[in-house]
């Protein structure tokens, strides 16, 4: 019978750098990267939708603070935001005594918070743009039906804004995947972290960095195709009819 594990070990036997041990590092890195990116995107999206609605408010005192948040988080490098949260978390009074400390001592959660706040800022602006671009006629039609503001938001504005935001949001997802590479700077063992570790062990830059570059490339293409598929399904009414 064909034994997968023997095959795997024989395949890597004569190789000095791609050993089962380094493969385990890359796998661990892939898991960390996926967790970080997926969690921050989900939480960021959940935060961004209400923020985008508030940001589109005509009342200045509601929209201005949210604009300030998105301006600061979009205008400064993610690395700075990560450093501020990673080094700054100890300054919250009493956090070192609280039950949360074991959670925050690890670099994972500060990184997750930084990534989430960053992607939420970008996503808020993407959705705001989509909400603003709602066709006047749709809003007038909703008003003519006697819909209240909240019903109109729920039934008319948000569903069509989601669809309009899709291409830009796909770019944001890819951007987040690439931005997550800086997690390795604060000692996290993500994909880039694994490559840096292998590099420091064997002092060969090409194998580890080209290998993870290839993995990132595959992930990017997977995201790209997923969003293209979604666009095809959800934006079918906008594509030119095939003759």
């Amino acid at each position: 019978m064909f034994d997968l594990s023997t095959w795997y070990h024989e395949l890597l036997d004569d190789n000095a750098i791609f050993t089962p041990a380094t493969m385990a590092h890359y796998w661990e890195g892939l898991v960390t990267t996926t967790q970080l990116v997926f969690l921050s995107l989900v939480v960021g999206l959940v935060l961004a939708v209400p923020l985008a609605i508030l940001r589109s408010s005509k009342r200045k005192w509601i929209s201005l603070p949210i604009y300030a948040y998105t301006y600061v988080f979009r205008g400064t490098p993610l690395l700075i935001q990560l450093y501020i949260i990673y080094y700054g978390v100890v300054f919250f009074d009493g956090i070192q005594e609280s039950f949360l400390w074991p959670v925050f001592r690890d670099a994972f959660y500060p990184a997750l918070i930084a990534f989430t706040l960053n992607t939420a800022a970008y996503t808020t602006e993407i959705f705001r743009g989509a909400i603003k671009a709602t066709a006047k006629g749709e809003i007038e039609a909703a008003r003519a039906y006697g819909m209240s503001e909240s019903l109109m938001m729920r039934r008319i504005v948000i569903p069509s804004a989601f669809r309009r935001a899709l291409p830009a949001y796909g770019n944001e997802v890819i951007f987040m995947l690439h931005a997550s590479a800086i997690a390795s700077v604060v000692t996290l063992m993500d994909l880039t972290g694994a490559a840096r570790y292998v590099y420091s062990r064997f002092y060969t830059p090409f194998e580890p960095f080209l290998f993870v570059a290839l993995i990132y490339l595959c992930l990017t293409f997977a995201i790209l195709f997923f969003f293209r598929f979604l666009e095809k399904r959800l934006l079918a009414h906008l594509s030119s009819p095939s003759l």
């Binding site: 490098p77 700075i80 080094y87 700054g88 700077v185």
Partner: protein, 233 residues
């Protein structure tokens, strides 16, 4: 008052490094972008293919990974070349591949791909009548590029160029990871040494916002200049 605990001058030097790096990378990115856009619109299948692979690969891999590949791999590559020169041709030179060069090359190379897309769209948006008019005046292709296609293209390219620049500026922060002493690295070192991260990191964040605002104003001025003759937008 803000007490930088003696790190003030070093932070300022770091800020200069950031600005220099960003400006040089932008220059390289614009040149590469123009070349890529030209290749993408060329009649040669091979050129179009090479430009396509370049933009796809660059946009699929994180900047930091490319930067590390170039920085750590670059020195080995340079050493290999100088070894060949020494043993085969008896020329003894030592080229040190420093972090600044690696930073400019990687960032320029990455954003060249983005600029290529921006410029291609902008070149295609230039009214064909303008080019025909230039040809009718007997302009050669170089003169036509300088006097008609480039200025006309810039009008369409500036919004995208400005966006790319804002992303590029923030990307420069990554060079601190490969050992270049820009303002982010100074601030991170100072935070670790003094255990006061906010004192150093927040002013650096503000500095980025400041640079972004100043350059945004410059881009708005440029847009106005290139829009001359097209009425108000």
């Amino acid at each position: 008052m803000l007490d930088l605990q003696g790190y003030g001058p070093r932070l300022f030097e770091g800020a200069l490094v950031t600005v220099e790096l960003a400006a040089l990378s932008l220059g390289l990115a614009i040149i590469l972008g123009l070349i890529t856009a030209t290749a993408k619109m060329s009649r040669s299948w091979l050129l179009r293919r090479v430009a396509g692979v370049y933009t796809t690969l660059i946009r699929g891999v994180p900047d930091l990974v490319l930067m590390m590949l170039l920085f750590y791999g670059g020195q080995i590559g340079v050493n290999a070349i100088s070894d060949v020169l020494l043993y085969d041709y008896d020329i003894d030179i030592y080229i040190s591949f420093n972090a600044f060069a690696a930073g400019v090359l990687t960032i320029g190379f990455i954003f060249g791909a983005y600029m290529g897309e921006t410029f291609r769209g902008a070149f295609m948006a230039v009214d064909a009548g303008q080019i025909e008019a230039g040809k009718a005046y007997g302009m050669g292709s170089a003169l036509l590029f300088r006097r008609v296609r480039f200025p006309q293209m810039m009008r369409h390219a500036l919004p995208g160029l400005s966006n790319n620049w804002m992303v590029l500026l923030k990307t420069t922060a990554l060079v601190s990871v490969i050992g270049l002493t820009d303002m982010v690295r100074v601030a991170a070192e100072a935070s670790r040494a003094t255990h006061e991260p906010f004192v150093f990191l927040i002013p650096v964040a503000v500095a980025y916002l400041l640079i972004a605002s100043v350059t945004e104003w410059i881009f708005a001025r440029l847009q106005k200049r290139y829009d001359i003759g097209f009425g108000e937008h």
